[in-house]
């Protein structure tokens, strides 16, 4: 059965993407935790020895931005982006799957456009080197992991799009609440 075979292959690929995306988000989380440690260290150094980590705010700005981009694909895959499902509460599963497909499509376009534009942004930063003030850290370097994140977001959006087209609606805020998550 070629159809079932391609289904199985897709499941495998989707599963691989999901693991990749989760690992990447976890890496972002660890980076965030690193920022926490540096900032706390700097704070302690400042209070105890009057010696903060120089330019710690710079580390915070760049690292938090990189970490947050790494979170985006995971948000897409786990349906963490909140939506108002009250207006469509009575809609049939078919319609809801359709709405989910549309949402995934928008995410896909967003990810692709942003990937395109930010890779040009990276080129700009390489040409007219933009450095952070204290560390003279070239900003384009930070754009590399960000582009990886956006590429993963493209993949994650594709998975959610295919899932929605196969009639699996995106998880909703209500499901999130059932698991006690969300903001």
């Amino acid at each position: 059965m070629p159809l079932r075979e391609s289904q199985g292959a897709y499941r495998k690929v989707a599963h691989g993407i999901a693991r990749l995306v989760e690992g990447w988000a976890l890496a972002g989380g660890i980076l965030l935790f690193g920022v926490v440690l540096v900032t706390a260290w700097s704070m302690g150094g400042n209070i105890l020895f009057n010696q903060p980590v120089p330019g710690d705010f710079e580390i915070v700005e760049v690292a938090v931005a990189v970490a947050v981009f790494a979170f985006l694909p995971y948000c897409q895959l786990t349906g963490a982006n909140v939506s108002a499902d009250i207006f469509t509460a009575g809609a049939s599963p078919r319609w809801i799957a359709g709405f989910s497909a549309l949402a995934a499509l928008v995410a896909l376009v967003f990810a692709a456009v942003l990937f395109w534009r930010m890779s040009l942004g990276l080129q700009d930063y390489r040409e007219y080197e933009e450095l952070t003030m204290v560390y003279q850290f070239p900003l384009w370097v930070a754009f590399v992991p960000i582009l990886v994140s956006l590429a993963l977001l493209v993949l994650a959006a594709l998975v959610t799009l295919v899932d929605a087209c196969q009639g699996q609606p995106q998880r909703t805020a209500r499901d999130q609440a059932d698991r006690g998550g969300g903001a």
């Binding site: 706390a40 302690g44 915070v60 700005e61 938090v64 985006l72 108002a84 499902d85 207006f87 534009r117």
Partner: protein
């Protein structure tokens, strides 16, 4: 100009339509904002902005406090802090009629001090307090209503993610906002406690008194809660008294909560992994909405929509307080349909210019602070009201045998208490403003 305004309004209509068909709010905002900018300013401008706009938004220093507070909240849920808090509160209050429910409120308040999220507070305290409330045969409506309402304290008591976002939108001082939220938060706790006290007197048997505790347990429970209070005191006290800025304070808080959790053996590698992934979901969602809000803001201000709204309200001849009440009512209604963060990000850019133009007998900075606290409270009401009261859903998922309608009924008295509180804060701005005045 007229044409730009029409395009802006059409954008708003498109936004509402997209949100209504389940489009994630962040993507609705991004789409409308981006298309709107392309229409009003040309695609070339949009495309060049997209090269660095997202990075620029995500690397705002003041925002970095958001993922840190989120992380602190999730680690705290795993570190057993909620159990300590409830145990201590119960030792002090449990013997009274309705005392176990009161303890849950007090513990929610304490937990809200290390956690900026309503849902996390509701779900963590729910897991700890629900079994106790059942053991003492509390009426299901009171038990679940208390916990759903108590969760709101997670947001109302600093640190609060929504408050940080508000401060960034209106360019207010985050520290001042945190200070201003303190007294209203305290009033919320007192009102909730009073609500329970009245409830158990009006409905006999709804909240039987718990067991009297022995002196030893009272002491042990009080000692066990000290680390939590210490961490809270350091983080929030440090911010209030200007020892450190919110971001370092949050970082120290995350560090201490994690350390405490690890030392007592409650937080293991799997818990950290859970906390980091949940933080990834929540912060990713928040930042994406922020990006959407930024695009939308560029589009709308070029279309002149906020200014037009402000002019319309100013020329309507309504007295300032009437306008304020109208806007708060609008926020309550909208808050019932959407989550609070999206609500703040969507509505404040339109509502704030209206309020800023009016004279409430105080300076513009103070108006900012006062309105922010009021807005924070009313958008949170959406968490405990139908149709999408998320706190009620959370508690409901923990207490499957209690019908949702019963929980909503149980929440009603607390909702009433909240309305009284909002009324008080509207009528007497000094309640909100005196602490910031004192500490500035």
């Amino acid at each position: 100009m007229e044409e730009n305004l029409l395009i802006g309004l059409a954008g708003l209509a498109a936004l509402i339509a997209m949100i209504a068909i389940r489009m994630p709010i962040a993507y609705s905002m991004v789409t409308v904002g981006a298309v709107g900018i392309a229409v009003l300013s040309g695609p070339a401008i949009l495309l060049s902005q997209l090269k660095t706009l997202a990075y620029g938004q995500f690397s705002i220093y003041d925002l970095s406090v958001v993922p840190m507070f989120v992380l602190m909240g999730y680690v705290a849920t795993r570190a057993g802090l909620s159990r300590d808090l409830f145990r201590a509160a119960n030792a002090w209050l449990g013997w009274m009629r309705g005392g176990v429910a009161m303890s849950a409120i007090a513990a929610c308040a304490g937990f809200g001090a290390v956690c900026g999220s309503s849902l996390a507070t509701a779900s963590t305290m729910g897991q700890v307090a629900l079994p106790e409330l059942r053991r003492y045969r509390y009426a299901p409506a009171l038990a679940t209503g208390t916990l759903a309402a108590g969760g709101v304290l997670g947001i109302l008591i600093p640190p609060s993610v929504v408050l940080v976002i508000y401060a960034i939108i209106v360019e207010a001082n985050i520290v001042t906002m945190f200070i201003a939220a303190f007294v209203p938060g305290l009033i919320a706790v007192l009102f909730f406690l009073a609500t329970i006290a009245i409830y158990v007197r009006l409905v006999p048997g709804a909240g039987p008194p718990g067991d009297a505790v022995r002196r030893q347990e009272l002491r042990d429970a009080s000692v066990a809660v000290l680390p939590v209070l210490g961490i809270f005191g350091l983080v929030i006290g440090g911010i209030y008294f200007g020892f450190f800025n919110p971001t370092p304070a949050a970082a120290v808080g995350v560090f201490l909560v994690t350390l405490y959790g690890i030392l007592r053996g409650a937080v293991r590698l799997a818990d950290l992994r859970y906390a980091l992934l949940e933080t990834a979901k929540t912060s990713g969602m928040i930042y994406l909405i922020l990006l959407g809000a930024e695009l939308l803001k560029i589009f709308m201000s070029r279309g002149g929509v906020p200014q037009a709204a402000a002019e319309m309200m100013a020329s309507s001849g309504l007295p300032p307080y009437a306008v304020l009440v109208l806007l708060l009512l609008a926020l309550i209604v909208l808050g019932c349909l959407m989550d609070s963060l999206s609500m703040i990000l969507l509505a404040i850019p339109f509502f704030w210019p209206v309020i800023a133009d009016m004279d409430f007998g105080m300076g513009p900075e103070e108006t900012k602070v006062w309105f922010g606290i009021l807005a924070l409270i009313v958008v949170e009401l959406g968490l405990i009201t139908p149709p999408v009261g998320m706190n009620v859903f959370v508690i409901n998922s923990l207490a499957r045998d209690v019908p949702m309608s019963v929980t909503f009924r149980g929440v009603l008295p607390f909702f009433g208490a909240e309305l009284v509180r909002v009324g008080l804060l509207v009528a007497f701005p000094a309640i909100t403003l005196f602490l910031p005045r004192l500490l500035s």
